[in-house]
């Protein structure tokens, strides 16, 4: 069946919904999502969204932009960071005006708190920049945007899994998707397609990410020959619940929480004396792993799953209740402890992809180092790489990225589609997807995906994690290639059409394997340490050779790497100290 729209937006988290709000007021818009929209993982973001409102102390967008650049270890495109910081202010007011229930100051203004790497006057001291709604800021953004989509009568296609793009040379003409409820293949022709499919933390064993975060958009792009940018940079959030990886917001430290080792020592004093526990995430995660490796974890056995304590006992029940209620609830549910009485056992958890589908600041996908635009194809949010996060994202900048660049992409799409004729597509455009699904469901005997997924997640966790070296990463590339070969014989166990979640999972596994391969290969290629990419064999940042974005392309089952210059037009790269 073929449907025709002006634009199809794939994904209904913060970026997709904001883009949908902008685009739907200008053209025929359809939002496709494999989940119900309010189930998206934007809803799990906790701590805040940064904007230099200056509601509680002096702040400037310029400081915010600088912190973003420095936090990203100078791999951030600086004009994009400037747009992010400047448009942040209007974006936050817009969300409030649309109903978002921010916490308030005694004067009734939007309250703000500290977050890692956000500073006053180019690094002097932490600044209160994160606007927040308790520790449910992402939930409130998602709810508010969904409410606005209801008000503006946006058309949703819930529970559709996108499997392929329809391309005509360098122009995108639509998407191919499976409707989960019927199992039918749907072809959606569109003048413009926006991918807002979110992250892919599920390539790792321990992650804060949802089951749904399987990198569907980037994987589809990669298979269509569009290279992915800066894939070697994957953020491990310092404080995931031990064993489960469930996120414990940086807001706990923003409100005064302290990381301690087995001696009760506030070890961050030794790593980042100015910002202490509020240093950027890559630095704090490495510090935790360094403590664990030195036998200073709580068990002290130096094993990879040893942990440290996040101490919030001195914050008081009142602060925990009004500003960190969900964190308190998670600790009670999953650990059986009250953070007011006992420290929280934490260790780093795979959290956020800095890399993704390369775009310009209007969300248009670019396919090479010269900025060649793929006509009619857009990306925004975690699946995209603008790049405002560079080698390491600052906390609260992800929610900001969604609303700023989701909005910009939606607006650009609205104008772009006016100049374009409706594309012509046919049932044959679904052939790749049809053949993929036909193979998975042909009734032949084959392995199920469970073991392949487990092995992939373990290999990525152990060999392409926080500390990396050439030997491990080469082993990971080889292992993932072997798993990709095994994937060719995987078959579904569920042969029915309606709600075949088995098929959905196995399609997702295919995406995860492609993304794992590209991540491992891009990481092996970059011979320096920068931001979240930390190599034992190349411990220093090397601006002479490596101050450049990588573009990793999937070609005939192998990854080839190209490059793209970094925009350093405002601040000259300097060593990064806090």
């Amino acid at each position: 069946m073929i449907h025709q729209f002006d634009t199809v937006i794939v994904g209904s988290g913060g970026a997709g919904l904001y883009a949908a709000l902008e685009a739907s007021s200008r053209c025929r818009t359809a939002v496709l999502s494999k989940l119900y929209p309010i189930r998206s993982h934007t809803g799990a973001a906790q701590g805040g969204i940064s904007a230099a409102l200056g509601n509680v102390e002096e702040d400037k967008p310029e400081w915010h932009a600088f912190d973003t650049v420095k936090g990203g270890d100078y791999l951030v495109d600086q004009q994009a960071a400037k747009i992010l910081a400047e448009e942040a202010v209007r974006a936050v007011y817009d969300l409030e005006n649309r109903g978002l229930p921010f916490n308030r100051t005694p004067e009734g203004r939007i309250d703000q708190r500290r977050f890692g790497g956000h500073t006053r006057n180019f690094g002097e001291a932490p600044v209160r920049r994160a606007c927040f709604a308790a520790d449910r800021t992402g939930h409130m953004i998602l709810q508010t945007l969904y409410q606005q989509c209801i008000k503006n009568k946006v058309a949703f296609f819930d529970e559709y899994q996108v499997v392929d793009l329809i391309m005509d040379g360098n122009t995108c003409k639509g998407v191919v998707a499976v409707q989960l409820s019927t199992g039918e293949l749907r072809i959606l022709a569109a003048k413009a397609v926006l991918f807002a499919t979110g992250g892919f933390g599920r390539i790792y064993k321990i992650t804060s990410n949802a089951f749904a975060n399987t990198g569907d958009g980037p994987a589809v792009c990669a298979r269509q020959g569009i290279p992915l940018q800066d894939m070697e940079f994957f953020q491990f959030h310092p404080t995931g619940i031990m064993g489960l990886g469930i996120l414990i917001s940086e807001a706990v430290r923003g409100e005064g929480g302290i990381l301690r080792n087995r001696d009760g020592e506030r070890f961050m004093e030794r790593y980042t004396p100015t910002l202490l526990d509020l240093a950027p995430r890559d630095i704090v995660s490495r510090a935790i792993m360094t403590e664990v490796r030195a036998g200073k974890g709580i068990r002290g056995d130096r094993k990879i799953d040893d942990y440290v304590h996040l101490d919030a006992t001195h914050l008081g029940k009142e602060t925990l209740l009004t500003k960190l209620p969900d964190i308190t609830s998670f600790c009670k549910t999953y650990l059986g402890i009250d953070p007011a009485d006992a420290p929280i056992p934490v260790l780093p958890t795979a959290h956020y992809a800095m890399g993704g589908i390369p775009t310009d600041t209007h969300g248009r996908v670019v396919r090479d180092g010269n900025g060649t635009v793929v006509h009619g194809l857009y990306a925004a949010g975690e699946c995209a790489c603008v790049s405002v996060h560079g080698a390491n994202r600052l906390g609260t900048n992800s929610l900001l990225d969604l609303v700023v660049f989701g909005r910009r992409a939606g607006q650009h799409i609205g104008e772009y589609v006016k100049q374009i004729d409706a594309p012509k597509v046919s049932e044959a455009d679904g052939d790749f997807a049809r053949q993929w699904i036909a193979r998975l469901t042909d009734g032949k005997s084959g392995p199920h995906g469970g073991h392949i997924r487990e092995e992939m997640q373990t290999v990525m966790m152990e060999k392409v994690g926080i500390y990396r070296n050439a030997g491990d990463m080469q082993a990971a590339v080889n292992a993932i290639q072997e798993l990709r070969a095994r994937y060719q014989s995987v078959r579904v166990q569920d042969t029915s059409k309606h709600f075949n979640t088995d098929l959905l999972e196995i399609i997702e596994l295919g995406n995860l394997l492609d993304i794992s391969l590209i991540t491992a290969a891009a990481a092996l290629n970059r011979q320096e340490s920068r931001g979240a990419h930390s190599r034992e064999d190349f411990p220093d940042r090397n601006d002479g050779q490596w101050l450049k974005h990588s573009l990793a392309a999937l070609q005939d089952d192998h990854v080839t790497i190209g490059y793209k210059p970094v925009d350093v037009s405002i601040w000259k790269p300097k060593p990064r100290a806090y």
Binding site: I38, R104, R136, Y334, D494
Partner: protein
């Protein structure tokens, strides 16, 4: 610990009636019920149908009936439902919504009722300042209702829907209250026709089942009663106005 999941299965393509199927597995008591379901799906039976996403109680995908009680599979630990080795736990889809596959229900009606209360801020006034001013106390008035993740556990728990399928249900009213009690909202009159009718707020009989099961600890029944009071107060003041010369 050895445990048995007794799961209600139904595939409309093949099955005339729902039936129960048992799966036995080893599970860590501190793991989530969702972990057990994922284990079955990935290593025992790929055809088992259920929804899931965030796995820590914030997305609302995996609301089901667990030993008859409505809750989230990812916010229920194995040790809460299994006392000793070999125990079993019964899992069924939510009530009042048609089953599409195993534990997956059609949520259309739930969301239609939710949408009927106009769950968005209604206020066309120009914003005088950059943000609308709201005191912390005003913000607190509707705080717990903003936590709603629309999981539909309360809807399935509500005894009233047994007798009146048209009742809009606890979640929709809690969502209406979230805006009615927001000092920035001006949508009371627009929402009144949906709320002020039997299948609006007045069907609620204070069974408290919604409040008891809410995975987000929202005092739903209390919010419903507050909504009723707001409507009564509004009607009283209208009546007063009419009596004035």
């Amino acid at each position: 610990m050895k445990m048995t999941l007794k799961i209600q299965r139904f595939n409309p393509e093949n099955d005339a009636q729902p039936f129960f199927q048992e799966y036995t597995l080893d599970a860590d008591p501190n793991e989530r019920l969702l972990d057990a379901l994922m284990y079955v799906k990935r290593f025992q039976d790929g055809s088992l149908g259920f929804r899931k996403s965030c796995a820590h109680g914030v997305c609302g995908s995996d609301a089901i009936r667990i030993n008859g009680k409505n809750g989230l599979a990812c916010k229920t630990l194995i040790k809460e439902v299994i006392q000793k080795d070999g125990d079993s736990v019964t899992l069924q889809p939510l009530r009042y919504l048609s089953v599409q596959r195993d534990l997956i229900v059609d949520q259309t009606e739930f969301f239609t009722k939710y949408r009927s209360v106009k769950p968005f801020l209604i206020n066309d006034e120009e914003v005088a300042e950059k943000e609308r001013i709201q005191s912390p106390e005003e913000r607190l008035r509707f705080d717990d209702t903003t936590n709603c993740i629309l999981c539909a556990a309360c809807y399935s728990a509500c005894p009233v829907l047994e007798s009146d399928p048209l009742f809009i249900g606890p979640a929709a009213i809690a969502q209406a209250f979230r805006f009615l009690a927001d000092s920035r909202d001006r949508g009371f009159a627009e929402r009144l026709p949906v709320l002020d009718r039997p299948e609006g707020v007045w069907d609620c009989e204070n069974h408290f089942e919604c409040t008891k099961c809410c995975p987000r600890s929202i005092l739903i029944t209390k919010r419903i009663n507050q909504t009723k009071k707001m409507i009564e107060k509004h009607k009283d003041s209208e009546a007063d106005d009419r009596q004035k010369p």
